[in-house]
Symmetry: C2
Subunit: 148 residues, 2 copies
Amino acid sequence: MENEMHNPVKPLVDNIIALRTSLKQYYIQKIKEQHLDITYEMLQVLAALWKKERMNQQDIAVAIQKNKASVTPLLDNLCKRDLVKRVNDPNDRRNNLIELTLKGDAYRELLTPVQQDLYKAILKEITEQKVLEITEILEKLTVIIDKQ
Amino acid sequence: MENEMHNPVKPLVDNIIALRTSLKQYYIQKIKEQHLDITYEMLQVLAALWKKERMNQQDIAVAIQKNKASVTPLLDNLCKRDLVKRVNDPNDRRNNLIELTLKGDAYRELLTPVQQDLYKAILKEITEQKVLEITEILEKLTVIIDKQ
DNA sequence: ATAAAACAGTTAAATATCAAACTAAATTTG
DNA sequence: CAAATTTAGTTTGATATTTAACTGTTTTAT
């Protein structure tokens, strides 16, 4: 959002949006280089499942910060590509438990290095101390905004 | 993106995405409170035009960090709502010059306070010095990521 | 001057997003 | 225990996003 006032927060907001765009573009490019037929958003789902298998769709929605109505078509597309499968939960028939297929798990080996490369590149130029410090401030910022 | 390693960059990335989501949600809520029939993305276009009138679509795309193919339907929707109009550029017939309508300009009075309120709320809890500092680091981060 | 390249915008097709309304299942409450 | 509420997931409808191919216009280079 822009206006004519001089306010230091405006460039900050712009940079947050730009940074998120750059992150997304980074992953899109790496996915393309490996000729994988997935989107950034599908990668977000896979990454969440690499961390914790067998989540239901609601858990996935929370983990990747999306609306549960967005998760339904995302999982449809991941199933179509044989990367995950939906499994009934016998203990609570409302749940779809989401499981990685072998292919979905194999993508881990292809894509976690991509993540690690980026993290290493960042830590080569910014100290861990600084990273922790701005993480804390961004967290605080999120709280402030959510309070409004 | 997640994995099992302990890496301080992971929480930073998560916070960037969360913060962008919070920002978007903040504006969506304020738009809703005023019963305005626009999306966050349309607001981004309007805000760019409040700063600089009569941009072509390419300029708008750059200003709001979107693909030019995304800008076409965005402007279609803004025209449909009578907030902007497309004007032919006699000097370069490739260009659509985008102009605010009276209604589009009136939205400025409704929505710039929303922006200012947020900026003030942030500066009440985080010093200007800190804001400038993290802006600089985020800028640096974007450069690092784009270089990969 | 003309051919090639660059540029602005649109379109198509696939995907993603969100709110709201909905179904079905589980839980809470009186 | 039955009714009310909550929860998980889907659907719908409108919008946004991306890449790639395409049209028309302008600029560049020979």
